[in-house]
Symmetry: C2
Subunit: 255 residues, 2 copies
Amino acid sequence: MGTRSAPLNAAAVAAARAAGEGLSCLGCPHLGVCMPAQAVPRTGRPDRLVSRRLLLQRREPLLSTGDRFTAVYGVRRGLLKGVLAADVAGGLVTGFFFPGDLAGLDGIARDRHPTGVLAVTDAEVCVIPFDRLEAWASRAPAVQRHLHRLLSREIGRGCMALLPLARLTAAQRVADFLLRFAAAQSHGSASDFVLAPTLEEMGSHLGLKMETVSRVLAQLVSQRLIARERRSLRILEFADLDRLARAQSAGPEAR
Amino acid sequence: MGTRSAPLNAAAVAAARAAGEGLSCLGCPHLGVCMPAQAVPRTGRPDRLVSRRLLLQRREPLLSTGDRFTAVYGVRRGLLKGVLAADVAGGLVTGFFFPGDLAGLDGIARDRHPTGVLAVTDAEVCVIPFDRLEAWASRAPAVQRHLHRLLSREIGRGCMALLPLARLTAAQRVADFLLRFAAAQSHGSASDFVLAPTLEEMGSHLGLKMETVSRVLAQLVSQRLIARERRSLRILEFADLDRLARAQSAGPEAR
DNA sequence: CGGTCAGTTGAACCTGATCAAGTCAGGTGG
DNA sequence: CCACCTGACTTGATCAGGTTCAACTGACCG
């Protein structure tokens, strides 16, 4: 154990220490998303739930395929991606993890993580040893229920990710992605946000080549549905973009 | 409530009664898959876990998108499919449920089922009210852990389903599907099995049109990788089929 | 100031969709 | 028992969306 992560963690643990051993969930802006808000103050010892926090740099792996499952990871800051290291090519991006999300949940089934997790931007995550979480859950029904919801939500996400791949055209996939990303980014659907993933990462997630994503984005810009400058992006016509994403297919009118 | 399912359930409940109120998990061949084998005999009242059993006919819905979440469903016999009733087209098949699988787990998150479940063949399912399961889980750690594994496994499946859609060619998708299906059908990977889903259902799951699936199957037959007669199918060349599914892409040799 | 990495743009090609007949098995009713 | 109907599947010809290959631009970083 620790063979791969030792060098990374050294700095991270130091950072956690430097932050003043602040491992309580109480002040966390994501309380209520990661963990149920009502339960934390009352039950058990919420400040012992998170064993440590890690600081990750862009590109840095949090988890690799096949790693032993011991903990789940709450995203405090930044953006992560799940990666299925398919035998072929450079890994399929299975999804993105935003602040408040829990990563690594798919590792429970086999005690190993089937997918890896990497930082898309610099990020900070809370390490939550799963046995602690389970123990807490069995004592506090609200926590148990919350955990079940989180697990179930992840299942639902998987299903929703299938739809674009199976049914939508390139333009629809990109439009759909932008809408979802905007909504998740600032869980309220701000029209103005940073598109942190590269075109390649987006493409990988959408089953498209980077070139195609580039072309579609260019096209959306020329249609005045979005504005773009480097990585920052603004949705100009929410409704039109949505209509495009959900169109029966083919041209916007026709038939 | 009951409006849709009343007529269906009447027969089903009668059938359950006729079966002698046999709602215990003890004699079930899938004990240890649905529920943890060790825990059942010892803990609580396993025979009160399943509230009833339902008999479903081919095509009959077990669950529709938007239905209230109250229970999960253990498959005892037959094949079911999960369906995402996309706004467009006739519903995307998100996956298949084999005997021993638990369906409906994605409903926990929002108290409503985001996907529907239908019988692909005549089937029998155990209705497991979720509050009973949760209560049992919080008393018995082994059950809790098992439930978490089941939920997690479902997450992993979702990820695995993305790969074919995002990366593989039509032939690879079909080959991959046949291998998985064979393995799941008779959890040991028999080379001889019944392909219960229609080509359309397979296509929907794989992001392909029925015509394409038909062509690929014909091609696999002509390559002597499989044999087919009506719905029954035999894998003749396991290794070659696997190689085909995992090929970098393009032709089997080349480059 | 060269090097690299992310993105852009163009042209040719290919896979799977689409449209359109047609086959075949099973079920139904006469 | 046969005629008919329906739903599942097959097969062919054409078409188009997205990939591929390739060259090029432009930031950013030492």
